[in-house]
Symmetry: D2
Subunit: 258 residues, 4 copies
């Protein structure tokens, strides 16, 4: 079977989802169930998973018994904040060591601060975390994050929350070709075909939140994304036909100018 293996654990689903921007916890659960996701990422600084006793607790609808929780450091702009947030998550979740690291560079673009990300990744790996890491689509940096010991590297396709789709396919392809750990596109997917394209490029998975939560019908979009990820993965494995200008071309690349 064609599983996604992260930190030694196999997952049938290659779609990872977030929990933000939904109308209420009921819609959150409905969309996540429809997505088929098994890994659900949670912004520790913005989501109540038990820190606030008297507020609705996400874990009531997304219980750790049913999903692999992936605490993330969204909203952290420094190494210190990011590392501390991971440690807090580990405490709240009884020693859970799988985290998604993001150290942001600024509040407008939400692009990563790459040097700080490298530093935080190194500290977290040394501290025993299994680090999935959000970064830019720079192939050199992605390789370095793998060498540091991250269990998965997650380049952005486009800015977080933009829905612009994959801006630089060549970068994603190069990152995938160079990698020995799973590469997951994180951020920028806007609709189903964007997710399919990521998978056709050879990515091991896609993480998204806004594209589902801000669709007019989030639950239906979650189902669309589930199918798109599977479609893209199968197309990748099936080996697509060559592109050519005309059916009559004797050689596929004959005269393919773009």
């Amino acid at each position: 079977t064609d599983s996604l293996v992260i930190a030694g654990k196999a997952y049938a689903s290659r779609l990872l989802v977030g929990t933000g921007k939904y109308k209420d916890l009921s819609q959150t659960r409905a969309a996540i169930v429809a997505s088929g996701a098994q890994i659900v990422t949670v912004a520790i600084r913005r989501t109540n998973i038990g820190q606030n006793k008297n507020e609705p607790n996400l874990l009531d609808v997304i219980p750790p018994t049913e999903f692999t929780l992936l605490p993330n450091t969204a909203g952290c702009y420094t190494v210190k904040d990011a590392v501390h947030t991971c440690q807090l998550a580990r405490e709240l979740l009884d020693g859970h060591s799988l985290v998604k690291l993001e150290v942001l560079g600024d509040a407008k673009t939400l692009y990563p601060d790459v040097p700080a990300t490298l530093q935080a990744a190194e500290m977290l790996v040394k501290d025993g975390f299994q680090v999935m890491v959000y970064t830019s689509d720079d192939p050199i940096i992605c390789k370095r994050l793998e060498e540091i010991g991250c269990v998965a590297v997650m380049p952005l396709a486009a800015p977080i929350g933009s829905g612009l789709g994959i801006q630089n396919k060549y970068n994603i392809l190069t990152i995938v070709e160079n990698a020995k750990v799973p590469i997951l596109v994180d951020a920028g997917v806007g609709t189903a075909s964007d997710a399919a394209i990521a998978m056709e490029l050879g990515c091991d998975g896609v993480l998204m939140n806004t594209a589902i939560a801000e669709a007019r019908d989030p639950v239906l979009m979650a189902s669309a994304m589930k199918k798109a990820i599977e479609a893209g993965r199968e197309a990748y494995r099936a080996g697509r036909m060559p592109r050519r200008r005309f059916a009559s071309a004797s050689s596929p690349s004959e005269g393919l100018p773009f």
Copy 2:
């Protein structure tokens, strides 16, 4: 339920497939079954559906009891040939009147001869055929083919057999917006995401052959295409998030330059 209705008949699947270029009839059937297609198009001038008694008959593996056969006029370069081929198909298939018309302009590009297509469509409609029609992605011509009485209009996404994907999204979108009959992308799809994009643009379906038959693993690609069509359709119905440069943009289109 969200059915594709063509000539008054409802279909659950929005993926239509051809039968050419497979290794053998067994692979043909396996791929078509995996695609979930209910409408299967057959090139009458190239495929034995009973004309040649002693050769393998496609209908043995794609029986009319299981699939809606869609005879097509592939290989016809004149109005006369195309009309005659449809009449031959009707005889061979006991009065079957649903056909896919294509009148080709030349053997290199396999682009339609639009004036001849208009003329043949008119003749076939008058002769009682239910005409699905292959054409260029010209919105004016697509509307005229609808007005002539075609039951579905099928603009190309890119040259037949090219696998280049949708070249002119704006044209397809305009055609869809103007249409009162189903619009199906016919020709040019190369991989799963191409099919999803067609559906996200609002197309009612996609017809393909080479993208499945020339994949390294046609049966797996057929499954990918099935899911991609469903994903794209659901994404279209779910209403995608707006594209914006950054999550922080107060208005979606604020500063979207391309």
Copy 3:
């Protein structure tokens, strides 16, 4: 020297411009002079070139002694209107036979009515006109218009007045490769790089109006377009480097997936 030859006459400039949408005749002239254009197209049904004695006359600022006037049939939706408009222009311009034919399909898209265009082109050629013809980017139709005897074929890049740039580069390329008469992109160019791309595809020229007239500074944009057309032409003639993924690739097309 590298001239554009239309109907036997050589032009140093490959940029053709319109006269609509300017602030006043003074700006019209300033922009056209800055563009370096030698052929200026005039919408006979919308522009006073002498029909109305008491109104400002375009020919005062764009005199036929300085520019080749190209009367066009903008606003014509029927064969009859288009043919009649050309005949009117010939009278007004003392037997001038070079015209730009457009027969529009609808007022929203301003796409051509291709069958009517073919018919009008045939009538005008028989009537002794030298016909430059606006059409869709359908390679079969473009070839037919050449066979009818048009002196130049002018496929659209995108809808008139859209500024979207070339939507289907493969079509333009195929049209150019098949042609024995000049191919000029007509409609859809929005900025300088769009014009350069048209020329790099091998087009013989570009006709534009809105991209200059609706720029914030039309005269400066006219200069930009002049240089862009020359740049694109020279790049085409100079033979661009092959595209490749990396400088180290031993073969250009090695692994070029898109």
Copy 4:
């Protein structure tokens, strides 16, 4: 006048060129003269500017009296090598302090090593160099290089020597919008329109080598690039028309889906 100002010095030309890959020094000079470039970058580790007394000296055809030389650190993979190469250049060129820094991440992609680039930039600025710096198209990193004191930041458009054109227009746009120093696209331009696009995005200049040197006719391509840079710059300053689906749209962005 619209000058490019780098480190306090104004240049009329916004095209910077390299000296590699030409047939001989005579072609090198002819192409560079045709490009109109005033700043010429020289790979100190690969080019003889006096290190080797008995070999042809680039300075014989590209004299510092006629051009601003921009020594670069092409081929350097470590901070130490890059810094040392700059110091060597300063000695060879009598105290010349303007340099182009590149610290490469690997020999296949020729992508920058971003953390090493930041470190080398810091050291060189402190050592009195005026540093123009090659980097990835990461907006956060570009801003940081500006803050370090680099006099110009030079994000790649695509891999060095690829000719693929600008892969991520949104990144380049964001970098330009955030910058207080000149932003020049460095690497990846393949033909004239690519250069024009860079300028239309608001870049202050473009540096290229392979696109000119590997054209079939380098001197003609150099001329094309000169005009393309000017065209793109003028189009940027002229303010392009809005993109819209149809001329009849009441609002530009009405229904612009991509």
